[in-house]
Protein backbone atom coordinates (compact mmCIF):
# COMPACT_ATOMS: atom_id res chain seq x y z
CA UNK A 1 0.00 0.00 0.00
CA UNK A 2 1.07 3.59 -0.45
CA UNK A 3 1.93 4.50 3.11
CA UNK A 4 1.80 8.26 2.73
CA UNK A 5 -1.65 8.29 1.14
CA UNK A 6 -3.50 5.68 3.12
CA UNK A 7 -2.04 6.59 6.47
CA UNK A 8 -2.91 10.22 6.01
CA UNK A 9 -6.39 9.42 4.77
CA UNK A 10 -7.05 6.96 7.56
CA UNK A 11 -6.09 9.54 10.11
CA UNK A 12 -8.33 12.02 8.39
CA UNK A 13 -11.15 9.51 8.41
CA UNK A 14 -11.01 8.55 12.01
CA UNK A 15 -8.70 9.95 14.61
CA UNK A 16 -8.01 13.42 13.24
CA UNK A 17 -11.60 14.38 13.99
CA UNK A 18 -10.88 13.17 17.49
CA UNK A 19 -8.56 16.10 17.99
CA UNK A 20 -10.58 18.59 16.00
CA UNK A 21 -14.10 17.86 17.20
CA UNK A 22 -15.45 20.39 19.66
CA UNK A 23 -17.83 19.05 22.26
CA UNK A 24 -21.47 19.26 21.31
CA UNK A 25 -22.54 22.68 22.55
CA UNK A 26 -25.56 21.80 24.63
CA UNK A 27 -24.48 18.28 25.37
CA UNK A 28 -28.01 17.06 24.96
CA UNK A 29 -27.57 14.68 22.04
CA UNK A 30 -28.39 11.08 22.83
CA UNK A 31 -26.96 8.25 20.73
CA UNK A 32 -28.25 4.74 21.28
CA UNK A 33 -26.09 1.82 20.19
CA UNK A 34 -27.62 -1.65 19.85
CA UNK A 35 -25.14 -4.50 20.09
CA UNK A 36 -21.98 -4.69 22.18
CA UNK A 37 -19.64 -6.61 19.90
CA UNK A 38 -16.56 -5.25 18.19
CA UNK A 39 -18.66 -2.74 16.22
CA UNK A 40 -21.06 -1.59 18.93
CA UNK A 41 -18.52 -1.28 21.74
CA UNK A 42 -16.09 0.52 19.42
CA UNK A 43 -18.64 3.06 18.20
CA UNK A 44 -19.91 3.74 21.73
CA UNK A 45 -16.41 4.38 23.06
CA UNK A 46 -15.37 6.40 19.99
CA UNK A 47 -18.37 8.68 20.40
CA UNK A 48 -17.49 9.39 24.03
CA UNK A 49 -13.88 10.01 22.99
CA UNK A 50 -14.78 12.37 20.16
CA UNK A 51 -17.48 14.27 22.02
CA UNK A 52 -17.56 13.56 25.75
CA UNK A 53 -20.76 15.60 26.23
CA UNK A 54 -22.83 13.27 24.07
CA UNK A 55 -24.93 10.81 26.02
CA UNK A 56 -24.31 7.29 24.72
CA UNK A 57 -26.41 4.30 25.74
CA UNK A 58 -25.45 0.81 24.61
CA UNK A 59 -27.97 -2.02 24.63
CA UNK A 60 -26.52 -5.52 24.91
CA UNK A 61 -28.12 -8.62 26.44
CA UNK A 62 -24.90 -10.41 27.47
CA UNK A 63 -22.82 -9.30 30.44
CA UNK A 64 -19.81 -11.11 29.04
CA UNK A 65 -18.75 -10.82 25.41
CA UNK A 66 -17.31 -13.90 23.68
CA UNK A 67 -15.12 -13.01 20.72
CA UNK A 68 -15.20 -14.98 17.47
CA UNK A 69 -11.66 -14.25 16.21
CA UNK A 70 -9.39 -17.02 17.50
CA UNK A 71 -12.38 -19.15 18.55
CA UNK A 72 -11.35 -21.69 15.89
CA UNK A 73 -8.27 -22.25 18.03
CA UNK A 74 -10.58 -23.04 20.94
CA UNK A 75 -12.27 -25.72 18.82
CA UNK A 76 -8.88 -27.28 18.06
CA UNK A 77 -7.94 -27.28 21.75
CA UNK A 78 -5.18 -24.70 21.31
CA UNK A 79 -6.87 -22.11 23.49
CA UNK A 80 -9.57 -21.94 26.15
CA UNK A 81 -12.81 -20.04 26.02
CA UNK A 82 -11.99 -17.56 28.84
CA UNK A 83 -9.26 -16.13 26.57
CA UNK A 84 -12.13 -15.12 24.26
CA UNK A 85 -14.24 -13.47 26.93
CA UNK A 86 -14.45 -9.86 28.04
CA UNK A 87 -16.66 -7.90 30.41
CA UNK A 88 -18.05 -4.47 29.62
CA UNK A 89 -16.31 -2.77 32.56
CA UNK A 90 -13.94 -0.93 30.22
CA UNK A 91 -16.79 0.29 28.03
CA UNK A 92 -18.71 1.49 31.10
CA UNK A 93 -15.61 3.25 32.45
CA UNK A 94 -15.39 5.33 29.31
CA UNK A 95 -18.74 6.91 30.15
CA UNK A 96 -21.06 4.70 28.10
CA UNK A 97 -24.34 3.80 29.83
CA UNK A 98 -25.09 0.12 29.28
CA UNK A 99 -28.51 -1.54 29.43
CA UNK A 100 -28.03 -5.30 29.72
CA UNK A 101 -31.16 -6.34 27.90
CA UNK A 102 -32.59 -6.95 24.43
CA UNK A 103 -33.98 -4.21 22.25
CA UNK A 104 -37.41 -5.47 21.25
CA UNK A 105 -38.79 -2.74 18.98
CA UNK A 106 -37.60 0.30 17.06
CA UNK A 107 -39.81 3.16 15.90
CA UNK A 108 -37.70 4.95 13.30
CA UNK A 109 -40.24 7.75 12.76
CA UNK A 110 -40.48 8.59 16.48
CA UNK A 111 -36.75 7.83 17.04
CA UNK A 112 -37.59 5.45 19.86
CA UNK A 113 -36.20 2.11 20.99
CA UNK A 114 -38.24 -0.15 23.27
CA UNK A 115 -36.26 -2.54 25.42
CA UNK A 116 -37.34 -6.01 26.56
CA UNK A 117 -38.01 -4.70 30.09
CA UNK A 118 -40.36 -2.03 28.72
CA UNK A 119 -37.97 0.89 29.02
CA UNK A 120 -38.25 3.35 26.14
CA UNK A 121 -35.14 5.17 24.92
CA UNK A 122 -35.38 8.16 22.61
CA UNK A 123 -32.41 8.94 20.40
CA UNK A 124 -31.04 11.56 18.09
CA UNK A 125 -29.22 8.89 16.15
CA UNK A 126 -29.25 5.15 16.51
CA UNK A 127 -26.37 2.82 15.65
CA UNK A 128 -27.16 -0.81 15.00
CA UNK A 129 -24.31 -3.27 15.27
CA UNK A 130 -26.33 -6.46 15.68
CA UNK A 131 -23.94 -8.86 13.98
CA UNK A 132 -25.48 -11.91 12.36
CA UNK A 133 -28.33 -14.26 12.96
CA UNK A 134 -28.64 -17.73 11.50
CA UNK A 135 -31.25 -18.19 8.77
CA UNK A 136 -32.87 -21.16 10.43
CA UNK A 137 -34.55 -23.39 7.89
CA UNK A 138 -32.69 -21.93 4.88
CA UNK A 139 -30.83 -25.23 4.78
CA UNK A 140 -33.37 -28.05 4.89
CA UNK A 141 -33.22 -29.87 8.22
CA UNK A 142 -31.06 -27.27 9.94
CA UNK A 143 -33.06 -25.59 12.68
CA UNK A 144 -32.16 -24.50 16.18
CA UNK A 145 -32.73 -28.01 17.56
CA UNK A 146 -30.43 -29.48 14.91
CA UNK A 147 -27.65 -27.10 15.97
CA UNK A 148 -27.50 -28.87 19.33
CA UNK A 149 -26.31 -32.01 17.50
CA UNK A 150 -24.62 -30.37 14.53
CA UNK A 151 -23.13 -27.18 15.96
CA UNK A 152 -22.58 -24.14 13.76
CA UNK A 153 -20.13 -22.57 16.22
CA UNK A 154 -20.46 -19.39 14.15
CA UNK A 155 -21.32 -17.36 17.22
CA UNK A 156 -18.65 -17.96 19.81
CA UNK A 157 -19.58 -19.43 23.18
CA UNK A 158 -21.37 -22.66 24.06
CA UNK A 159 -21.51 -23.69 20.39
CA UNK A 160 -17.73 -23.39 20.17
CA UNK A 161 -17.29 -25.67 23.18
CA UNK A 162 -19.89 -28.13 21.89
CA UNK A 163 -17.97 -28.65 18.65
CA UNK A 164 -14.71 -29.02 20.58
CA UNK A 165 -16.22 -31.63 22.92
CA UNK A 166 -17.65 -33.57 19.99
CA UNK A 167 -14.24 -33.67 18.29
CA UNK A 168 -12.58 -34.74 21.53
CA UNK A 169 -15.15 -37.48 22.12
CA UNK A 170 -14.94 -38.85 18.58
CA UNK A 171 -13.02 -42.08 18.18
CA UNK A 172 -9.95 -42.22 15.95
CA UNK A 173 -11.10 -43.08 12.44
CA UNK A 174 -14.29 -41.05 12.63
CA UNK A 175 -15.38 -38.83 9.75
CA UNK A 176 -15.86 -35.10 10.32
CA UNK A 177 -17.97 -33.18 7.80
CA UNK A 178 -18.07 -29.38 7.60
CA UNK A 179 -20.16 -27.22 5.31
CA UNK A 180 -19.46 -23.66 4.19
CA UNK A 181 -22.23 -21.38 2.88
CA UNK A 182 -22.47 -19.22 -0.21
CA UNK A 183 -21.50 -15.52 0.09
CA UNK A 184 -22.05 -13.29 1.97
CA UNK A 185 -21.37 -14.53 5.47
CA UNK A 186 -19.44 -13.59 8.62
CA UNK A 187 -15.66 -14.01 8.38
CA UNK A 188 -14.98 -15.11 4.78
CA UNK A 189 -11.74 -17.01 5.56
CA UNK A 190 -13.22 -18.47 8.77
CA UNK A 191 -14.46 -21.82 7.42
CA UNK A 192 -11.06 -22.50 5.86
CA UNK A 193 -9.13 -21.55 8.98
CA UNK A 194 -11.43 -23.83 10.94
CA UNK A 195 -10.98 -26.69 8.46
CA UNK A 196 -7.20 -26.25 8.71
CA UNK A 197 -7.22 -26.32 12.50
CA UNK A 198 -9.58 -29.30 12.70
CA UNK A 199 -7.39 -31.13 10.16
CA UNK A 200 -4.36 -30.30 12.30
CA UNK A 201 -6.15 -31.56 15.42
CA UNK A 202 -7.11 -34.81 13.68
CA UNK A 203 -3.63 -35.29 12.25
CA UNK A 204 -2.04 -34.94 15.68
CA UNK A 205 -4.69 -36.61 17.86
CA UNK A 206 -6.79 -38.87 15.61
CA UNK A 207 -4.58 -39.76 12.65
CA UNK A 208 -7.04 -42.28 11.17
CA UNK A 209 -9.78 -39.66 10.93
CA UNK A 210 -10.72 -37.58 7.91
CA UNK A 211 -12.33 -34.19 7.33
CA UNK A 212 -14.53 -33.38 4.36
CA UNK A 213 -15.35 -29.72 3.74
CA UNK A 214 -18.41 -29.30 1.53
CA UNK A 215 -18.59 -25.83 0.01
CA UNK A 216 -21.39 -23.94 -1.76
CA UNK A 217 -18.68 -21.94 -3.60
CA UNK A 218 -15.80 -22.63 -5.94
CA UNK A 219 -13.77 -19.63 -4.79
CA UNK A 220 -12.95 -18.38 -1.33
CA UNK A 221 -10.72 -16.02 0.61
CA UNK A 222 -6.97 -16.76 0.57
CA UNK A 223 -7.80 -19.86 -1.47
CA UNK A 224 -4.36 -20.45 -2.98
CA UNK A 225 -2.64 -20.04 0.36
CA UNK A 226 -5.03 -22.40 2.09
CA UNK A 227 -4.96 -24.98 -0.67
CA UNK A 228 -1.19 -24.91 -0.79
CA UNK A 229 -1.01 -25.46 2.97
CA UNK A 230 -3.56 -28.28 2.77
CA UNK A 231 -1.71 -30.11 0.02
CA UNK A 232 1.53 -29.88 1.99
CA UNK A 233 0.21 -30.52 5.48
CA UNK A 234 -3.21 -32.11 5.55
CA UNK A 235 -3.80 -35.17 3.34
CA UNK A 236 -6.67 -35.92 5.74
CA UNK A 237 -8.65 -32.89 4.47
CA UNK A 238 -10.78 -33.04 1.34
CA UNK A 239 -12.40 -29.85 0.01
CA UNK A 240 -15.35 -30.31 -2.35
CA UNK A 241 -16.41 -27.09 -4.07
CA UNK A 242 -19.67 -26.19 -5.79
CA UNK A 243 -18.68 -27.49 -9.23
CA UNK A 244 -17.74 -30.85 -7.70
CA UNK A 245 -21.13 -31.18 -6.05
CA UNK A 246 -20.20 -29.56 -2.72
CA UNK A 247 -23.38 -27.60 -2.13
CA UNK A 248 -25.31 -29.08 0.79
CA UNK A 249 -29.04 -29.42 0.09
CA UNK A 250 -30.23 -30.94 3.37
CA UNK A 251 -29.07 -32.32 6.69
CA UNK A 252 -30.49 -34.85 9.13
CA UNK A 253 -29.46 -34.16 12.71
CA UNK A 254 -30.77 -37.53 13.97
CA UNK A 255 -28.52 -39.61 11.74
CA UNK A 256 -25.72 -36.99 11.48
CA UNK A 257 -25.97 -37.12 7.71
CA UNK A 258 -25.29 -34.35 5.24
CA UNK A 259 -26.79 -34.55 1.76
CA UNK A 260 -25.70 -32.79 -1.42
CA UNK A 261 -27.42 -33.13 -4.78
CA UNK A 262 -25.17 -36.11 -5.52
CA UNK A 263 -24.16 -37.78 -2.29
CA UNK A 264 -25.05 -38.39 1.35
CA UNK A 265 -22.24 -38.26 3.89
CA UNK A 266 -22.69 -39.98 7.23
CA UNK A 267 -20.36 -38.46 9.77
CA UNK A 268 -19.40 -38.79 13.41
CA UNK A 269 -19.10 -35.02 13.85
CA UNK A 270 -20.86 -32.43 11.69
CA UNK A 271 -20.20 -28.69 11.68
CA UNK A 272 -22.69 -26.76 9.59
CA UNK A 273 -21.83 -23.13 8.88
CA UNK A 274 -25.32 -22.11 7.78
CA UNK A 275 -26.64 -19.24 5.66
CA UNK A 276 -26.85 -16.01 7.66
CA UNK A 277 -28.50 -12.61 7.77
CA UNK A 278 -28.20 -9.39 9.73
CA UNK A 279 -29.10 -9.68 13.42
CA UNK A 280 -32.88 -9.86 13.78
CA UNK A 281 -33.32 -6.37 15.27
CA UNK A 282 -32.30 -4.99 11.86
CA UNK A 283 -35.51 -6.30 10.37
CA UNK A 284 -37.56 -4.87 13.25
CA UNK A 285 -35.92 -1.50 12.56
CA UNK A 286 -36.71 -1.76 8.84
CA UNK A 287 -33.07 -1.37 7.83
CA UNK A 288 -32.54 -4.78 6.23
CA UNK A 289 -33.62 -5.45 2.65
CA UNK A 290 -34.71 -8.63 0.91
CA UNK A 291 -31.17 -9.95 1.00
CA UNK A 292 -31.40 -9.98 4.80
CA UNK A 293 -28.54 -7.46 5.08
CA UNK A 294 -28.53 -3.68 5.56
CA UNK A 295 -27.66 -1.28 2.73
CA UNK A 296 -25.77 1.79 4.00
CA UNK A 297 -24.22 5.03 2.84
CA UNK A 298 -20.46 4.34 2.63
CA UNK A 299 -19.48 7.74 4.07
CA UNK A 300 -21.70 7.85 7.17
CA UNK A 301 -22.92 4.24 7.47
CA UNK A 302 -26.43 5.67 7.69
CA UNK A 303 -29.08 3.23 6.54
CA UNK A 304 -30.40 3.72 3.00
CA UNK A 305 -33.82 2.63 4.23
CA UNK A 306 -34.35 4.58 7.47
CA UNK A 307 -33.05 8.05 8.40
CA UNK A 308 -31.01 8.60 11.58
CA UNK A 309 -30.18 4.90 11.90
CA UNK A 310 -26.62 3.80 11.16
CA UNK A 311 -25.60 0.19 10.62
CA UNK A 312 -22.04 -1.08 11.04
CA UNK A 313 -20.23 -4.40 11.20
CA UNK A 314 -21.37 -7.77 9.88
CA UNK A 315 -24.99 -6.62 9.39
CA UNK A 316 -24.08 -3.89 6.88
CA UNK A 317 -23.71 -4.27 3.13
CA UNK A 318 -20.21 -2.82 3.00
CA UNK A 319 -19.35 -3.66 -0.61
CA UNK A 320 -15.86 -5.07 -0.91
CA UNK A 321 -15.23 -4.89 2.84
CA UNK A 322 -15.56 -8.30 4.48
CA UNK A 323 -17.59 -9.06 7.58
CA UNK A 324 -14.85 -9.10 10.20
CA UNK A 325 -14.09 -7.75 13.67
CA UNK A 326 -11.33 -5.61 12.16
CA UNK A 327 -13.78 -4.12 9.66
CA UNK A 328 -16.46 -3.54 12.32
CA UNK A 329 -13.94 -1.66 14.46
CA UNK A 330 -12.80 0.49 11.51
CA UNK A 331 -16.39 1.20 10.46
CA UNK A 332 -17.28 2.12 14.05
CA UNK A 333 -14.64 4.86 14.11
CA UNK A 334 -15.76 6.26 10.78
CA UNK A 335 -19.41 6.10 11.83
CA UNK A 336 -18.70 7.83 15.17
CA UNK A 337 -16.82 10.64 13.41
CA UNK A 338 -19.65 11.02 10.90
CA UNK A 339 -22.28 11.18 13.65
CA UNK A 340 -20.34 13.87 15.50
CA UNK A 341 -19.98 15.84 12.27
CA UNK A 342 -23.69 15.51 11.51
CA UNK A 343 -24.61 16.66 15.03
CA UNK A 344 -22.54 19.77 14.35
CA UNK A 345 -24.08 20.25 10.90
CA UNK A 346 -20.72 19.61 9.32
CA UNK A 347 -20.19 17.47 6.24
CA UNK A 348 -18.64 14.13 7.19
CA UNK A 349 -15.27 13.49 5.59
CA UNK A 350 -14.97 10.79 2.98
CA UNK A 351 -13.25 7.93 4.79
CA UNK A 352 -10.57 5.42 3.90
CA UNK A 353 -10.97 2.14 5.73
CA UNK A 354 -8.62 -0.73 6.23
CA UNK A 355 -9.14 -4.39 7.01
CA UNK A 356 -6.81 -7.27 7.73
CA UNK A 357 -7.95 -10.86 8.15
CA UNK A 358 -5.43 -13.21 9.71
CA UNK A 359 -5.95 -16.94 9.58
CA UNK A 360 -4.15 -19.59 11.59
CA UNK A 361 -3.49 -22.77 9.61
CA UNK A 362 -1.81 -24.56 12.53
CA UNK A 363 0.39 -23.48 15.44
CA UNK A 364 3.12 -21.08 14.24
CA UNK A 365 1.57 -20.88 10.75
CA UNK A 366 -0.37 -17.71 9.96
CA UNK A 367 -1.51 -16.12 6.70
CA UNK A 368 -3.27 -12.83 6.04
CA UNK A 369 -5.12 -10.70 3.55
CA UNK A 370 -5.34 -6.92 3.85
CA UNK A 371 -7.40 -4.39 1.93
CA UNK A 372 -7.97 -0.65 1.83
CA UNK A 373 -11.40 0.69 0.92
CA UNK A 374 -13.02 3.96 -0.11
CA UNK A 375 -16.56 5.00 -1.01
CA UNK A 376 -17.42 4.59 -4.67
CA UNK A 377 -20.53 3.73 -6.68
CA UNK A 378 -22.53 3.95 -3.46
CA UNK A 379 -20.54 1.17 -1.83
CA UNK A 380 -17.15 0.65 -0.31
CA UNK A 381 -14.70 -0.25 -3.05
CA UNK A 382 -11.36 -1.96 -2.88
CA UNK A 383 -8.51 0.44 -3.64
CA UNK A 384 -6.55 -1.48 -6.24
CA UNK A 385 -2.91 -2.03 -5.48
CA UNK A 386 -3.37 -1.36 -1.76
CA UNK A 387 -3.24 -4.20 0.71
CA UNK A 388 -2.38 -7.70 -0.45
CA UNK A 389 -2.08 -11.28 0.69
CA UNK A 390 0.75 -13.28 2.22
CA UNK A 391 3.30 -14.56 -0.30
CA UNK A 392 2.59 -18.01 -1.70
CA UNK A 393 6.22 -19.03 -1.29
CA UNK A 394 7.55 -18.11 2.11
CA UNK A 395 9.90 -19.60 4.70
CA UNK A 396 8.53 -21.03 7.96
CA UNK A 397 9.77 -17.93 9.75
CA UNK A 398 7.35 -15.76 7.73
CA UNK A 399 4.41 -18.01 8.62
CA UNK A 400 5.49 -17.94 12.25
CA UNK A 401 5.76 -14.15 12.19
CA UNK A 402 2.25 -13.85 10.76
CA UNK A 403 0.90 -16.16 13.47
CA UNK A 404 2.53 -13.86 16.04
CA UNK A 405 1.10 -10.79 14.30
CA UNK A 406 -2.35 -12.37 14.37
CA UNK A 407 -2.20 -12.83 18.13
CA UNK A 408 -0.77 -9.34 18.51
CA UNK A 409 -3.68 -7.95 16.53
CA UNK A 410 -6.19 -9.85 18.69
CA UNK A 411 -4.63 -8.63 21.94
CA UNK A 412 -4.50 -5.06 20.64
CA UNK A 413 -8.05 -4.85 19.33
CA UNK A 414 -9.64 -6.52 22.34
CA UNK A 415 -7.73 -4.17 24.65
CA UNK A 416 -8.80 -1.18 22.61
CA UNK A 417 -12.45 -2.21 22.45
CA UNK A 418 -13.03 -3.87 25.83
CA UNK A 419 -9.98 -2.96 27.95
Amino acid sequence: MSASLSRRSLLAGASASLIAAPAVAQGTAHIVVIGGGFGGSSVARSLKQLAPNIRVTMVEPNRVFTACPFSNEVIAGLRDLPAQQFTYDGVARSGVEIDFTHASAIDAAAKRVTLADGTVLTYDRLVLSPGIDIRWGALRGYDEAASARMPHAWKAGEQTMLLRRQLEAMEDGGLVVMSAPDNPFRCPPGPYERASLIAWYLKTKKPKSKLILLDAKDNFSKQRLFQQAWSQLFPNLEWIGLSKGGKVSSVDANTLSVTTDFETYKAQVVNIIPPQRAGLIAEAAGVSDRSGWCPIDPVTFESRLQPNIHVIGDAAVAGAMPKSAFAANAQAKVCAAAIVALLHNRTPQEPRLINTCYSIVMPDYGISVAGVYKPGKGLLMDIEGAGGTSPLQAPDSTRKMEADLALGWYNTITREVFG
Binding site: D218, L242, S243, K244, G245, D261, F262
Partner: protein
Amino acid sequence: MARALINVPAKAAKGEIIEIKTLISHPMETGFRVTFNGTLIPRDIINTFRVTYNGVEIFAAELSSAMAANPFITFTTLATESGTLEFHWAGDNGFSVTETATLVVE
Protein backbone atom coordinates in the same frame (compact mmCIF):
# COMPACT_ATOMS: atom_id res chain seq x y z
CA MET B 1 -10.81 -32.10 -17.31
CA ALA B 2 -14.52 -32.50 -17.58
CA ARG B 3 -16.09 -34.25 -14.70
CA ALA B 4 -19.76 -35.11 -14.62
CA LEU B 5 -21.80 -35.92 -11.56
CA ILE B 6 -25.07 -37.79 -12.00
CA ASN B 7 -27.71 -38.64 -9.43
CA VAL B 8 -30.20 -41.27 -10.56
CA PRO B 9 -32.04 -43.33 -7.95
CA ALA B 10 -30.74 -46.91 -7.98
CA LYS B 11 -34.27 -48.32 -7.76
CA ALA B 12 -37.76 -47.07 -8.56
CA ALA B 13 -41.29 -48.49 -8.69
CA LYS B 14 -42.88 -48.92 -12.11
CA GLY B 15 -44.73 -45.72 -12.97
CA GLU B 16 -42.89 -43.66 -10.36
CA ILE B 17 -41.73 -40.15 -11.23
CA ILE B 18 -38.00 -39.96 -10.53
CA GLU B 19 -35.79 -36.90 -10.26
CA ILE B 20 -32.46 -36.93 -12.07
CA LYS B 21 -29.69 -34.44 -11.33
CA THR B 22 -26.56 -33.71 -13.34
CA LEU B 23 -23.61 -31.39 -12.89
CA ILE B 24 -20.70 -31.05 -15.28
CA SER B 25 -17.49 -29.05 -14.84
CA HIS B 26 -17.18 -26.63 -17.75
CA PRO B 27 -16.04 -22.96 -17.95
CA MET B 28 -18.91 -21.92 -20.31
CA GLU B 29 -16.78 -19.10 -21.75
CA THR B 30 -19.34 -16.76 -23.35
CA GLY B 31 -17.38 -15.53 -26.34
CA PHE B 32 -18.20 -11.94 -25.42
CA ARG B 33 -15.37 -11.25 -23.01
CA VAL B 34 -12.10 -9.58 -23.95
CA THR B 35 -8.61 -9.89 -22.51
CA PHE B 36 -6.57 -6.98 -21.12
CA ASN B 37 -5.25 -6.47 -24.67
CA GLY B 38 -8.73 -6.18 -26.11
CA THR B 39 -8.68 -9.47 -27.98
CA LEU B 40 -11.84 -11.52 -27.83
CA ILE B 41 -11.75 -14.71 -25.76
CA PRO B 42 -13.20 -17.35 -28.10
CA ARG B 43 -16.48 -18.93 -27.17
CA ASP B 44 -16.19 -22.28 -25.40
CA ILE B 45 -19.54 -23.59 -24.24
CA ILE B 46 -21.54 -26.78 -24.09
CA ASN B 47 -24.16 -26.60 -26.87
CA THR B 48 -26.33 -29.61 -26.22
CA PHE B 49 -27.27 -32.02 -23.49
CA ARG B 50 -29.19 -35.20 -24.36
CA VAL B 51 -30.42 -38.07 -22.25
CA THR B 52 -31.64 -41.43 -23.53
CA TYR B 53 -33.40 -44.16 -21.55
CA ASN B 54 -32.83 -47.56 -23.16
CA GLY B 55 -32.04 -45.77 -26.40
CA VAL B 56 -35.05 -43.44 -26.43
CA GLU B 57 -34.47 -39.73 -25.95
CA ILE B 58 -36.29 -38.55 -22.81
CA PHE B 59 -34.69 -35.15 -22.24
CA ALA B 60 -32.71 -32.66 -24.31
CA ALA B 61 -31.54 -29.11 -23.81
CA GLU B 62 -29.77 -26.49 -25.89
CA LEU B 63 -27.33 -24.42 -23.90
CA SER B 64 -26.20 -20.91 -24.76
CA SER B 65 -23.64 -18.27 -23.84
CA ALA B 66 -25.93 -16.91 -21.13
CA MET B 67 -25.56 -20.04 -19.03
CA ALA B 68 -23.23 -20.10 -16.06
CA ALA B 69 -20.15 -22.25 -15.70
CA ASN B 70 -20.57 -25.83 -14.49
CA PRO B 71 -24.15 -26.35 -15.73
CA PHE B 72 -26.40 -28.06 -13.21
CA ILE B 73 -29.42 -29.60 -14.92
CA THR B 74 -32.17 -31.47 -13.15
CA PHE B 75 -35.35 -33.01 -14.60
CA THR B 76 -37.89 -35.72 -13.90
CA THR B 77 -38.94 -38.76 -15.87
CA LEU B 78 -41.23 -41.74 -15.55
CA ALA B 79 -39.63 -45.03 -14.45
CA THR B 80 -41.00 -47.52 -17.01
CA GLU B 81 -38.50 -50.40 -17.16
CA SER B 82 -35.09 -51.42 -15.87
CA GLY B 83 -32.25 -50.29 -18.04
CA THR B 84 -29.60 -47.73 -18.79
CA LEU B 85 -29.74 -43.98 -18.94
CA GLU B 86 -27.14 -42.37 -21.15
CA PHE B 87 -26.15 -38.72 -20.68
CA HIS B 88 -24.36 -36.85 -23.43
CA TRP B 89 -22.91 -33.34 -23.37
CA ALA B 90 -21.46 -31.85 -26.58
CA GLY B 91 -19.91 -28.46 -27.16
CA ASP B 92 -17.33 -26.18 -28.78
CA ASN B 93 -13.82 -27.41 -29.53
CA GLY B 94 -14.98 -30.97 -29.89
CA PHE B 95 -16.18 -31.20 -26.30
CA SER B 96 -17.98 -34.51 -25.80
CA VAL B 97 -18.72 -36.39 -22.59
CA THR B 98 -20.88 -39.46 -22.20
CA GLU B 99 -21.88 -41.02 -18.88
CA THR B 100 -24.29 -43.82 -18.06
CA ALA B 101 -26.35 -44.82 -15.06
CA THR B 102 -28.34 -47.96 -14.34
CA LEU B 103 -31.89 -47.94 -13.06
CA VAL B 104 -33.72 -50.95 -11.62
CA VAL B 105 -37.50 -50.76 -11.93
CA GLU B 106 -39.50 -53.12 -9.73
